[in-house]
């Protein structure tokens, strides 16, 4: 085939692994406040999935899958979301965890002390921040790898 991608075996396994790694990355981000992991780790895992796609399919893998503009926009959105979440608590102080233990719908549950199985809807702002950082990290690192591999990046037309 074209010289830009790896052998058919690698490609087939990549098809399978790509979704799996992404889902696992999402799992790591989602359960960041219960199990080891969190925004950075999950984001890095998802970014590795993008890197895997890139190496297995070559730059052809980018088509319809990873768009640099989108990646950059999502990254900025993630960063802004993180900052915005931090701003939420400015009534008390910057980074004040507004939702923790509030009993509200959004991650307001309390957790029992000591060893337990974990409550997914607890943690207040922490899971939301996990997601913001996760979005940021996955798209940011993916953008770096893509740009370094593919080369020139079209800046905004001024």
């Amino acid at each position: 085939m074209n010289n830009n991608s790896m052998s058919v075996i690698v490609r087939t396994v990549t098809r399978f692994m790509y979704g799996l790694i992404i889902l696992f990355g999402f799992y790591v981000i989602m359960h960041g406040h219960l199990t080891p992991g969190g925004g950075f780790q999950g984001g890095a895992v998802v970014a590795s999935a993008f890197a895997l796609l890139l190496v297995a399919f070559g730059s052809a893998g980018l088509k319809g899958q990873l768009n640099l503009h989108w990646l950059q926009s999502i990254e900025e959105f993630g960063a802004l979301a993180f900052l915005g979440l931090a701003f939420l608590g400015i009534g008390t102080a910057f980074f004040y965890n507004l939702f923790a233990n509030s009993g509200g719908f959004l991650f307001g549950a309390s957790v029992p002390t000591g060893s337990n199985a974990g409550v997914l809807t607890a943690g207040g702002l922490v899971p939301l921040m996990n997601w913001a950082v996760g979005l940021k990290v996955m798209t940011g690192i993916a953008a770096v790898v893509i740009v370094m591999l593919v080369g020139s990046h079209k800046e905004e037309t001024e």
């Binding site: 406040h33 969190g38 990254e75 900052l83 923790a100 974990g118 207040g124 990290v137 079209k154 800046e155």
Partner: protein, 91 residues
């Protein structure tokens, strides 16, 4: 000659680093851990999070994390800037 002097200086630095590290408190026995004990005890009641590390990363020391996100953002922007498409007059 210069290389020899440099090597001596390097050895000095390395020796001091190793000395300074070896002179520390013994491994596995942190002496003053008031802050960390606070984190461990209060991660669940205060932040409602099971993972104390996440509690530290996103709540107690959340600002560091914002800084870290900024660092990554800066690196991404820097790399994108380096590989950006240039105008005609800038080639």
């Amino acid at each position: 000659m210069r290389k020899a002097i440099l090597f001596v200086a390097f050895l000095f630095v390395g020796a001091f680093l190793l000395l300074g590290v070896a002179d520390m408190r013994p491994f596995g026995e942190p002496q003053m851990a008031v802050m960390d004990d606070y984190y461990i005890q209060n991660a669940q009641p205060e932040v409602a999070v099971n993972n104390a590390v996440t509690a530290v990363v996103f709540d107690y020391r959340g600002f560091d994390t914002l800084g870290e996100a900024t660092v990554l953002f800066a690196a991404v922007v820097g790399v994108l800037g380096l590989f950006r498409k240039l105008r005609e007059d800038e080639r």
